[in-house]
């Protein structure tokens, strides 16, 4: 393939020897072999590091596509993150180190966190939240957002965090799909020194829904109608009485919605037992986090990366997790590096789009700060282009003198790193890395047959692991579909990849109509239906075009209703409309008005053609094109 030629096949970037020698996981090949040969022993051993109210009787039961882990065991992930760590002497250790958008710092210790989670859980229980109930959380990246997640799970209820950048229809759809009993929402989020109003979005989204709402009010204390409550009052007005609800290992911990090509978001379900075990395993072995490290994941609690690596895995392992609200280049392009210097961050987990942003600002920004503490930068969310990897390696970890840049690939459905470059192996620019322990990955053709090394194909997983999703909320058929798309009882990731002779995978992009904008999965169908819901629009088609920063940007082709005339104002109105409906991340960066859209004879829009035209490429087989 073309991309393949761009890669210098022989290029190897190594972690410095002292980092390799201190790696938590020394013998990667042996670990990997054991994880596949003896998955019960392998995962069972790691699982026994945690507290089980009732020990599990069996590590796993596969009846693909169904898989269940730690059968018979009862536990609670939040109990393991809080009580267990407080009891082993970490009460005064900083659990969460929060940097607010205005530069304020707040540290919460494990002891304080436990106290607050118990209070909030008591308060939520008084509002009627019980085991199994769904609580939707629409909160900016704050300690309170995390408290809301933990308190919900503490009670055995199921949280569903909706990224506070998503718009009205996205929020409403998720609340309805989850069948939420309660919404915990922020009134405002801050970015670049400005408040972004969330209250009106929430109010519109919940119109006529019989839903209790707890408001985390930072902008101002509003007079709340009946059934609406103030977060701080619920928190501090409740005694720390609640105790963790011990649940079955397979009891849902959370639902997290992700976009598909069909238009309807899928509620990916993760469970207490396996998720706890798997995400922590990778925190220690892939992210190489030590007990006294400061671990900084630059994501948001609205995404799976935030769930696993801001909240659950670091807290479960008793380490210090740093979280920061706001943009990476605000107030200046050195903002990230100032944080690394000030808090001596040891391991950082960020996204390729951020790396590309730093590239744009130039190496002089990181050079101004003391980054000597930084040992590992993990990058995931979308393919990390070789230039970005080389740049990060060169300028963020002293060309490998001090640390390592570890690319990795995974999905909401997979809970934790699946392919990646462990720091004992060399990084190859353009390759995400090898299959990590517990993972059996393959590149296959549409018949499910492996393709030769170097050739592109569908990326599939041949076996499940503990932290892999269990179902799609309310739509188990959709779950089964993941496993039936490609023959051979394999999990189809929906991504296209190639694999080299050494087992390194290069992930090339989506196989379906899903865009990856700055690491966020956005269904083209979502954007199209948002556009069509505008009164001026008759039809719309959306494609992704390459973007130097975001990886992909959204380009929309719009056919107007009769009587509407194209104008700049209309473009702006359309953009504002999508922004409102879906949120800023799904906003088209370009809108083109067309008279008609290319369609197949069956009436399907040929996005492929639009894309080919856009990129000046051969559009391929156009036999189905409507005249």
């Amino acid at each position: 393939m073309a991309v393949q030629k761009l890669l210098k096949a022989e290029e190897r970037l190594w972690a410095p020897e002292e980092v390799r020698l201190r790696a938590n996981l020394q013998n990667f090949p042996e670990e990997y072999r054991r994880s596949l040969e003896d998955p019960e022993g392998f995962w069972g051993e790691w699982a026994r590091r945690f507290y089980w109210e009732k020990p599990f009787e069996k590590v796993l039961e596969w009846n693909l596509p169904e898989h269940r882990w730690f059968l018979g065991g009862t536990t609670n992930a939040v109990y393991n993150a809080l009580e267990r760590n407080v009891e082993r002497g970490l009460r005064n250790k900083v659990a969460l180190l929060y940097l607010s958008e205005d530069g304020r710092e707040e540290k919460l210790t494990y002891g304080e966190l436990l106290d607050r989670v118990r209070r909030l859980a008591t308060g939520l229980r008084r509002l009627g939240v019980e085991k199994g109930d769904r609580v939707v959380i629409y909160m900016p990246l704050t300690l309170e957002g995390i408290l809301a997640m933990l308190a919900t799970a503490y009670l055995g209820a199921i949280h569903s965090v909706v990224y506070a950048g998503l718009g009205v229809s996205a929020l409403r759809e998720r609340i309805l799909d989850a069948g939420a009993k309660l919404l915990i929402a922020g009134d405002v989020s801050y970015r670049r020194g400005k408040g972004v109003d969330l209250r009106s979005i929430v109010e519109e989204a919940i119109k006529d829904l019989p839903l209790k709402v707890v408001w985390f009010q930072r902008a101002f204390q509003a007079e709340l109608p009946e059934g609406h409550y103030d977060f701080q009052e619920i928190l501090w007005g409740s005694p720390p009485e609640a105790r963790a609800e011990m649940v079955d290992a397979e009891h849902p911990l959370f639902i997290l919605y992700t976009s598909g090509s069909t238009g309807k978001p899928k509620g990916v379900v993760h469970v207490h037992g396996g998720y706890m075990v798997g995400t922590t395993y990778h925190l220690r072995t892939f992210f190489d986090v030590k007990d006294d490290d400061v671990f900084w994941t630059t994501s948001d609690i609205g995404w799976i990366v935030g769930h696993s690596y801001i909240v659950y895995a670091p807290l479960l392992e008793g380490v210090t997790s740093l979280l920061r609200e706001g943009a990476p280049d605000y107030p200046d392009p050195g903002a990230f590096w100032q944080v690394v210097e000030r808090y001596r961050v040891n391991v950082m987990f960020t996204a390729p789009t951020a790396v590309r942003l730093f590239m744009k600002f130039g190496p002089e920004w990181p050079a101004r700060y003391d980054l000597s503490s930084l040992r590992l930068i993990a990058v995931a969310g979308e393919p990390l282009n070789p230039e970005a990897l080389r740049w990060a390696y060169q300028h963020l970890v002293d060309g490998g003198q001090r640390g390592f840049v570890a690319d990795n690939w995974w999905q909401t459905e997979l809970g934790g790193p699946t392919l990646g470059t462990p720091l004992v192996l060399p990084a190859k620019p353009g390759f995400a890395g090898v299959a990590l322990p517990g993972v059996e990955a393959e590149v296959v053709n549409e018949e499910g047959k492996p393709v030769p090394p170097g050739q592109g194909g569908l990326l599939v997983l041949k076996r499940p692991f503990p932290h892999m999703m269990r179902t799609v909320w309310g739509n188990h058929d959709r779950y089964l579909q993941y496993w039936r798309e490609v023959p051979g009882n394999v999990y189809a990731s929906g991504d296209i990849a190639s694999k080299d002779e050494e087992g390194y995978f290069s992930v090339l992009g989506r196989a379906d109509d899903v865009l990856n904008v700055a690491g966020h999965r956005i269904g083209t169908a979502d954007v199209e239906s948002a556009l069509v819901s505008h009164p001026a629009v008759a039809e719309a088609a959306v494609i992704g075009v390459p973007d130097p920063l975001k990886g992909e940007a959204i380009k929309a082709f719009v056919v107007l209703r009769l009587g509407q005339t194209p104008s700049e104002e209309l473009k702006e109105s359309l953009i504002a409309h999508v922004r409102r409906e879906l949120g800023p991340i799904a906003t088209p960066s370009e809108i083109v008005f067309l008279d008609k859209l290319p369609k197949t004879r069956s009436g399907k829009i040929l996005r492929r053609l639009l894309k080919a035209q856009e990129l000046g490429k051969d559009p391929g087989d156009l036999s189905t094109l409507e005249e």
Partner: protein
């Protein structure tokens, strides 16, 4: 020791007779009952039996002393010698008395120790140390030599040689007494004419004998020497030897606290600390990092600790805990502006080692003194740690000190640099300090490093320094100089060192204040007092703990805020002062907190306040110490029952006594001067500009105290704060404690002013609620009557109502000032006065 021992009938009778002798006018039954702490019927029964024997006579006003002379009263001093020996050694002690009827044996010892002997000496008396003494001085003829153990001397020549040694040394020792595994020491007792009265002995398990020998020999010889004079020829300098005003209540600590206490066996620890300081404090000290190990743990002659050892306090406070505690919160700071911040061990190490670099650039070297005029907070904590790091000596001066006092202390301490804040918060108000500092520094060539409030300048500057490693210094190298608070006049500069101080405060933090790993500690004392140094900063960090530092007054803006803070931050152990507790008590019921223990230090904790604390906050832990001592010396450890009003017992390493003005040991119940024979490792290493408290081998604390038979001490106030009314000597603290038992009194201060019979007692009382003018006279009468009930027969005191009492910033009442105001004379140096005091309003 821990158990309350009830009075035996004989002792009770002896006490009654002594009391009758002092009260020729007659004594009522209820007085006797109160004296003994027994019921009226018991008192009746005792008095009746004494009357039957002719020792007492019943009159119209109770009882008087009878004509009959009790025979055994003569031997009382010797029995007190036995008691004294027991109190000093806490071992089983024997007294052999030569009486016309033969040798009578008396014994005294704690339960659980062997007591195999009867009232008479066994035949094989030569096998006992006690017997050897009697043999050596010819009180016995040589009996048949029956071996008691394989080690018994049966060879007459060997025995004679042994007896010669006894005569030469005045001590007899027996390694294996009447049974293997028991050793003993004994000494003769001589009368005033040099005649042998008997012998005094002490028994310990053989395995402890080598360690205990020195201590026991000293105790024996001292007690044997003074025994004949134990009852002083004249009445003691303080009137009644007995303490009638306090109803002693014994309160058992809650089981949950006792069972989980870090120090389970106080008596064992105490004994070990005295017998084997090497083993006891040495093994604890090994937890810390020593660059060079010490040669000797304790030198009793000079009271120096860990000589030869090299270490550094800052290294042990910070570096020692990394990387394990890198992300643990070390300090939580709440500044007067309401900003709450948490600082991890890594951050403190990073910032303080960089600040050390800044100091080095300013020319500060090892041994240099650097003064601080900073409020409680991160900047002060970092400065102390940074100075300690480079071996410089920090001299923290209380903020709020006036320009004159500040200047005086800067000159006295020869500071090379002053670190000063330009303001501090009191009750939410920012009080400017720059004018004070500038006035104090007028014409002085002293550089100032400013901490500008409201800016991060100081921290930014600190973070620009290049980090320095900690410099190992000898254990006695000065760590800090602190001026003792000025309730008594000219301030003295107390110097503490790196090594012993570290061990002493850490021991108290873990074993007295009972901190467990992961708990949060808070002292309301400002960082610039010794309590702040020892327990706000150093001890918590030495042991890897977490300490909360608060700049403003604890009850600002309200006591509710104080309770809320304790609750939210999960404070487990609080160390505060009776002043703060009284202030909280004034506001009524407390709110629930997570407190487990409340330490109280600074002045005597009145039983009323003790009870309030117990009911409203948590188990009170009274403790007594001084700036010179660095860490608690007397206290009630968690496993012992508390006696409200009594501070407690000596802590490991400390030996305490109550003596008269000449240094003679007074028996339990008598009022006298509190002295220490031995002090713990946190004892000062130097004293500047003052008289040493050590005189004649005793540390004179300057406090008045009594002790009871179980070795519990009760602090009665400073010896210069004694009121002489008629024949009676009353400590100000005891008058105040009595006043506080009145339900209307929130705070009280007592002074003596010249009056008709010596001095007149004046009590300044802060009423709990505002009292209408017309009711004041009535309330004053009620309090007066209340005081008379508690204090016994003294001229009626005068009551003055005030809104608040003048206190030093460390919370001590400035009685000097009250006196001066009342008499209209110059109050002298009041630089230590808390700024809010507006003068007493007499009414």
């Amino acid at each position: 020791m821990a158990r309350k021992r009830s009075l035996s009938t004989v002792q009770a009778a002896l006490r009654i007779l002594a009391y009758l002798a002092e009260h020729p006018e007659g004594v009522e039954v209820k007085e006797v009952a109160r004296l003994l702490g027994k019921s009226l019927s018991t008192a009746y029964a005792l008095l009746n039996s004494l009357a039957e024997e002719g020792f007492a006579v019943k009159t119209e006003r109770g009882y008087r002393l009878g004509q009959a002379k009790p025979l055994r009263l003569e031997t009382t001093p010797l029995e007190e010698a036995l008691e004294e020996l027991y109190l000093r050694t806490r071992e089983r002690c024997y007294l052999a008395l030569l009486t016309p009827e033969g040798i009578r044996l008396k014994t005294r010892g704690r339960q659980g120790q062997p007591h195999p002997l009867g009232d008479t000496l066994p035949e094989e008396v030569h096998a006992l140390a006690l017997g050897k003494v009697l043999l050596a001085y010819g009180a016995l003829s040589l009996p048949p030599l029956v071996p008691r153990t394989p080690y018994t001397l049966t060879d007459p020549l060997a025995l004679e040689a042994e007896l010669t040694r006894v005569r030469e040394s005045g001590l007899a020792a027996e390694m294996e007494e009447y049974a293997p595994g028991l050793s003993a020491l004994a000494a003769p007792l001589f009368g005033p004419g040099g005649e042998l009265l008997g012998a005094l002995g002490v028994v310990v398990p053989t395995r402890r004998f080598p360690f205990a020998f020195g201590r026991l020999a000293r105790a024996l010889s001292e007690v044997a020497q003074v025994s004949a004079h134990l009852r002083p020829p004249e009445p003691p300098s303080l009137a009644s030897p007995l303490e009638p005003s306090l109803q002693v209540e014994v309160v058992e600590p809650p089981c949950a606290l006792k069972e989980r206490a870090n120090l389970r066996d106080y008596p064992g620890a105490y004994q070990a600390s005295l017998e084997d300081p090497e083993g006891f404090f040495g093994s604890f000290a090994r937890e810390f990092h020593w660059e060079t190990p010490w040669e000797r743990v304790y030198d009793p002659a000079t009271h120096t600790w860990f000589s030869g050892g090299r270490t550094n306090a800052a290294l042990n406070a910070l570096d020692r805990h990394l990387p394990e505690r890198a992300q643990q919160v070390a300090l939580i700071t709440l500044d007067g502006d309401g900003h709450l911040e948490k600082w991890t061990y890594r951050e403190l190490l990073d910032l303080s080692s960089r600040l050390a670099g800044v100091f080095q650039n300013l020319g500060i070297k090892r041994g240099d003194r650097v003064a601080l005029y900073l409020p409680t907070g991160l900047e002060a904590a970092l400065s102390l740690l940074a100075l300690a790091r480079i071996g410089a000596v920090h001299v923290a001066l209380p903020v709020g000190l006036g320009p004159e006092a500040l200047r005086e202390r800067l000159l006295q301490s020869q500071a090379r640099l002053l670190i000063a804040a330009d303001g501090y918060f009191r009750r939410g108000q920012l009080v400017p300090l720059r004018p004070v500092v500038e006035a104090a520094l007028k014409d002085l060539d002293l550089p100032v490093l400013w901490h500008v409030r409201g800016s991060t300048e100081f921290l930014e500057r600190a973070s620009e320094g290049s980090p320095l490693e900690a410099v190992p210094v000898p254990a006695h190298h000065p760590l800090f100089l602190l001026h003792t608070s000025g309730s008594t006049g000219i301030p003295k500069g107390v110097v503490h060192g790196h090594g012993g101080y570290m061990v002493g405060v850490s021991w108290a933090f873990r074993y007295l204040f009972d901190l467990k790993p992961g708990e949060v500690f808070h002292t309301t004392a400002d960082l610039f007092w010794v309590v702040g140094h020892s327990f706000g900063l150093y001890a918590p960090l030495f042991l890897g703990g977490t300490s909360l530092l608060v700049e403003d007054r604890p009850d600002h803006p309200s006591p509710a805020a104080f309770y809320e803070r304790l609750r939210r931050l999960g404070v487990d152990v609080l160390l505060t002062s009776p002043t703060v507790l009284r202030a909280l008590r004034r506001h009524g019921e407390a709110r629930p907190t997570s407190l487990r223990l409340v330490g109280s230090v600074g002045e005597a904790l009145a039983p009323e306040v003790w009870r309030w604390t117990r009911e409203n906050l948590a188990w009170p832990l009274d403790n007594w110490w001084q700036t010179e001592l660095g860490a608690p010396a007397l206290a009630t450890p968690l496993t012992l029952p508390a006696k409200p009003g009594f501070v407690g017992v000596p802590l490991p390493g400390v030996e305490a006594r109550v003596v008269d003005a000449e240094g003679r040991v007074l028996p339990p119940g008598a009022k006298g001067h509190l002295v220490l024979l031995r002090v713990g490792p946190a004892h000062m290493v130097d004293l500047l500009g003052g008289e040493s408290p050590w005189k004649g081998g005793l540390y004179w604390t300057g406090d008045l105290a009594t002790w009871d038979e179980e070795g519990y001490f009760r602090i009665l106030g400073r010896s210069e704060e004694v009121i002489k009314v008629g024949e009676a000597r009353l400590g100000t603290a005891e008058v105040e404690a009595a006043a506080l038992t009145h339900p209307q009194v929130a705070e009280a201060a007592a002074i003596g002013i010249p009056g008709e019979e010596g001095e007149e007692i004046v009590v300044f009382a802060v009423p709990k609620k505002e009292v209408p003018e017309e009711l004041k006279a009535l309330l004053a009468e009620k309090i007066k009557a209340h005081l008379l009930r508690h204090l016994g027969p003294v001229p009626p005191p005068r009551i003055v109502f005030v809104e608040r009492l003048p206190r030093t910033r460390s919370g001590k009442i400035l009685r000097r000032l009250l006196k001066a105001e009342l008499l209209g004379v110059d109050p002298g140096d009041v630089s230590a006065l808390e700024e809010e005091y507006g003068g007493a309003k007499a009414s």
